[in-house]
Symmetry: none
Subunit: 322 residues, 2 copies
């Protein structure tokens, strides 16, 4: 038996709006820790990790760990039927093959329930490294979204370069080039307008703007976004979900042209563009995971027991960090 009551139902609506374009089907994992999801995008290039901690729910009952496969588009359709002020309750029976979403209007005048069939989904639970980053940029999420949108009208990829002075977003396309520099700025009226750069070492990485623009669909969730960068590692674009957790997007950097040229393969084309780097194929996240084993605090936390895929020790990292 599962029953999760979320007073701020709009959070779940926003979460789904931000994920449904990237991922078609995914398993929601439910344990005493919280309600979480981890999935690769359909082209296996990007990865999404969501965590909504149990403490964020008004009522959280999860008798037995459950992994519920859902079509996110359909789930989003149902959640769209909830008012923004509605209280949302997610219900499922342990044995059942359906999930029920209940929407209560704030005045209790309207109560709706939507039942959705669950699906069997092969979960590709990956261990996600809790890495040290060379640079972490925190900036207003709307500004980041605007930059990604603007640059994608000029080019397909963005080079994100962090130095002490600030973070630079650059692109190049047929019609010209573009560079946008954001300086660190902590002396702002509202803290959500701050741009903070924590840099251990300068770093410069290239990413596909198409995915960045998908990630920024999560902008309504938080005023701030955190971009964590390290050479060779996937970038982490994180939006906090108020009082509850986070949604994180991972994207492997494209190889710089230099790197491609250094590769042994004979490639006859000249002026070849940097190629997409699928996270799983070229640089599986598990392969670049630092030698970080289960932390002590994990011991007394329940593990995910997936109904469709058995979780390994590694998989727990996703839920227990932070």
């Amino acid at each position: 038996m599962l029953e999760l009551r979320l007073v701020q139902g709009s959070l779940l609506k926003k979460v789904l709006e931000s994920v449904k374009d990237l991922v078609n089907d995914a398993n929601f994992d439910c344990s005493a820790t919280g309600f979480s999801l981890q999935a690769m995008d359909s082209s296996h290039v990007a990865l999404v990790a969501l965590l909504l901690r149990s403490e964020g729910f008004e009522h959280y009952r999860c008798d037995r760990n459950l992994s519920m496969g859902m079509n996110l588009n359909n789930m989003a359709k149902m959640l769209k039927c909830a008012g923004n002020d509605d209280i949302v309750t997610i219900k499922a029976d342990d044995g059942g093959d359906t999930v029920t979403f209940m929407f209560e209007s704030p005045t209790q005048d309207k109560i709706a329930d939507f039942e959705m069939k669950l699906m069997d989904i092969d979960s590709e639970h990956l261990g996600i490294p809790e890495a040290e980053f060379q640079a972490i940029v925190r900036m207003p999420s709307a500004e980041f979204a605007r930059i990604c949108k603007d640059l994608s009208s000029i080019g397909d990829t963005v080079v994100i370069s962090v130095t002490k002075e600030g973070v630079k977003f650059s692109t190049r396309g047929d019609i010209g080039t573009a560079n946008i520099v954001c300086r660190q700025n902590t002396t702002v009226d509202k803290p959500e307008d701050a741009t903070v750069i924590e840099m251990q070492e300068p770093v410069s990485l290239t990413f596909a703007l198409r995915y960045m623009n998908s990630f920024t669909k999560a902008t309504p969730l938080s005023n701030q976004v955190t971009i964590s960068l390290s050479s060779e590692l996937p970038v982490v674009v994180e939006y906090k979900v108020a009082e509850m957790g986070y949604i994180r997007f991972y994207l492997a950097p494209k190889l710089e042209e230099d790197d491609i040229e250094n590769q042994a393969e004979a490639r006859p084309e000249v002026n070849k563009k940097p190629k997409e780097e699928p996270i799983v194929d070229a640089k599986p996240i598990s392969a670049i995971k630092p030698k970080l084993e289960v932390k002590a605090e994990d011991e007394n936390k329940p593990q995910i027991e997936s109904t469709t895929a058995v979780g390994s020790k590694e998989e727990i990292d996703l839920m227990d960090d932070e």
Copy 2:
């Protein structure tokens, strides 16, 4: 060396949004007088003339007159990347084949630079007559836009008739007819709501709504629009650009059906529609230009020295009038 700093960058954004649908490629002419553009639309039926006077810029440096050929769509794409409050600087080197747009956020936290390749464009600089008009209508630009949009759902052409009582916009289509009369009205709370009619002589002219609707893309630039009419002359639809100049659209009237019937050519078709009157082909503006030579005040103003086309005396009229 060219460096034009425009504090209200949104003006340039709006200017490009209003021109890019009409004209694909055009030369921007830069002289001590200001930053200007004159171009025919792609089908050579309408003409756009833009002037942003140097005094309107916070900083205006133009060592040598320059004519810069730009793809207006690409330029618009780049300007879209500027925030509405951004300060826009246009930079170009005298010999160079690129132009750079710099956008500074009001707080200086974000600085963007966009570089764009220039093009070689055959400029068809036409002399534009400084005509006397039989009627000049000044009215709220939004109202004019609304009328053109509404009428174009009924018919393809609009007959604009000015009498002492007011201005009438009429159309006729398969589904019926429409007449919209706006009376002169100067007793309004806000001056921008006024409708003012200066009429020497009643006039009635027919225009293609398709172009009128293109012109009204400039509506965001000004609360008021001025429509200047004379028989046989192209209409001038003018929007002032605050503190800086204007954007003017010229469109030759269609021949009335009567006129067509009076023409010698044997045309077998019955119910023939009024034909498009290209400004250059049927009624070249130079041909209908009143015998108005260069005015005295022109003498001490610098002339445009185009790098791709040498300007004639006539061409200067565009920039020096008003």
